[in-house]
């Protein structure tokens, strides 16, 4: 991607990101572009998990960087760049989901494309699935959850926010966070059915 030597350690990478942000704050568009390239996958991942489909994830990801650019002079260096972007992306996604809930209009397509690909190769759930199929099933199942359950679960599972942080982010009580996450997991359990056969990494659970 870039021809210069990649920074190696996590500290170096983060220092590099901060350096790019400082340059961007002075108007260096090329630096901002590098910054975008560094974080686009991570930001897209947040968007796609929260929204459940590609088009919306793209919107969120793009908009996150645009907002970040507009707010560069307000960037507080105590945040890591990732945290900063994640907060913006989460907020945008949650706002959008909330708007839709109120308007009750259709969002972008769910991962139907994925479903169609899978349909032709649907296997007995007890059979061993290759990693990709298993992942697609998960993505599909996640996308099929009610928006507010998915948001809480995603923030927990992928962003590892505490219940209290999630409560603040979604502006709901902690108890609601707890029940949404719990229900999300139970729904997923139903929809995912039997787990794929694989060597368990942990000691047997039953």
């Amino acid at each position: 991607m870039t021809d210069e030597a990649r920074p190696e350690t996590p500290d170096e990478r983060q220092a590099e990101a901060r350096r790019l942000l400082r340059a961007a704050r002075n108007g260096d568009r090329a630096a901002f572009r590098k910054f975008v390239e560094a974080y686009m996958r991570a930001v897209y991942a947040i968007g796609s998990r929260l929204m459940g489909n590609h088009d919306d994830a793209d919107d969120i990801a793009q908009e996150t960087f645009v907002r970040a650019w507009q707010a560069l002079d307000r960037y507080d260096a105590r945040y890591s760049p990732y945290t900063w972007l994640r907060t913006i992306a989460t907020r945008l996604a949650v706002n959008e989901l909330e708007k839709r809930r109120r308007r009750q209009t259709e969002g972008g397509e769910r991962f139907d494309v994925v479903a169609e690909t899978r349909a032709s190769t649907r296997a007995d759930p007890a059979e061993e699935l290759d990693g990709r199929e298993a992942e697609e099933r998960v993505a599909e199942a996640l996308a099929s959850l009610p928006d507010e359950y998915r948001a809480a679960l995603v923030l927990r599972t992928y962003e590892e926010l505490s219940y209290e942080e999630i409560a603040r982010e979604l502006e709901i009580p902690v108890g609601t966070v707890m029940s949404r996450i719990h229900r999300a997991r139970r729904m997923l359990r139903e929809r995912l059915g039997a787990p794929p056969t694989r060597v368990p990494k942990a000691p047997p659970e039953d």
Partner: protein, 479 residues
Amino acid sequence: MSQAGHVQDRLSAYLDAELSSDERAAVERHLHACSACRDELAALRAVEQRVRDASPPAVAPQYWESFAARVDARLGEPARASQPAGASWLERIVTWFVPPGRFGWVRAAAAVASVTLLAYVAMRGFRAQDASIQAPLRTAPRAVTPATPETRAPFAQAPTQERDDAKLPGLNEQPIARFADEPELADEASESRKRSDVQTRAQPEAEGFGSKPSEGRANALQRTDAPPPVGDLDANAERLKKESAPSAAAPRSSATSEEPRRQPATGGGLQEREKAARELREVADEPSAADVLRQEAAPAPEAERKRVLQSVAELDRTAARLQAKQDADVTLAPDVVADLVRTFSAAALAGDVSAATRARESLARERPDARTEIDQMDAWRAAEALPNAVGRLQSPTSNRGNETSRIALRALDALVWPRREEPSFAPVVERMAEALEAASPEHPELRPRAHAYVTWLIERAEDDAAREHLRQRLDALSP
């Protein structure tokens, strides 16, 4: 099936180590005795693991190749220009509605008010139409081609591919790249994440340049102390004893310095960070130009909707009366105006947008002096098309150019063009340019507008390369 004493509804919180130490102890005591709840916990843990292991759905490499360029194209102004200062939400809405002269085609002030009212009416009628328009919309894959200059005016060309070709979003007849297969830092981190699991994850993951969070990872240290295998309750008891001493006050250990919200409460420091977090959220909450436009096209409440429906029906009845008069007296010259008004209102009531448009076009051609009637038709038509046009315009991924009607684009043009200098409208200006360019082949009268937008963008271009791309688009506009 939650009898007294069962802990099922707390199991997720237990799994996530979000229970107080007392609660946790209670749950563990119960688990020791209850196999049903143990099974449930195991199932939850399995689900959590599967979800955690799953990478986000893959997108084609071209998507990433063009991503940064697309962001760049939306940036418009240099970093310093922030949202227009002082323009309150209310002020912005008001400026839309002010001079009727701003909407050249709407005369009466009442018509301006009815724009939003009619929008609701129109949307009801338009839904059927919408479905048929949306269908081709949705089968065409997103036109995510690499952002080369030639393909940057894509909408007229791009989505001729069949849906079958696009197995993955963003795919464009290229081999599918897995998110996890790419030799990127982001994926190193996700690979190493796969190797760990909820229980044994102990190492804080490197916060890669583009990888998953590290702040949360540092807390994994804390969390791995959470549920060990259920059978091992002696270890639990040990751990409980250890934990109840030092960390009771701050169950979330302060991770890295970059995670302000996790700092233990130290008075001023925490408040500052809370404030910073709030400001950060406000960045995301600031209304965008798209929001402003959407507000413009908000549907009307039920009562007003009824009133508007009535006025359209009234129009229809008047026209019918005129028609009947004509029929009765064959010596009367046919009243084109009445005829077309009748056609228009019938179509409007039926929600047939194209027929309504055709009637309007005919009237404008044959009796351009019938300004009042034409304006009324325009008001209705634009209001109906407007919400959909706004909706499509603000969503940069939808295939908007071709199906957005000419009148809707003209309406948007009237709204957007006067505000093209505002930084927050920069992305909207970009999209208007694209939409107008895409509509020009079918509606040549829009070409001058497309020309104006692209010329504007050329003047604002950052560098020669961008200017060159835009000039090519300008050339493409000339027939």
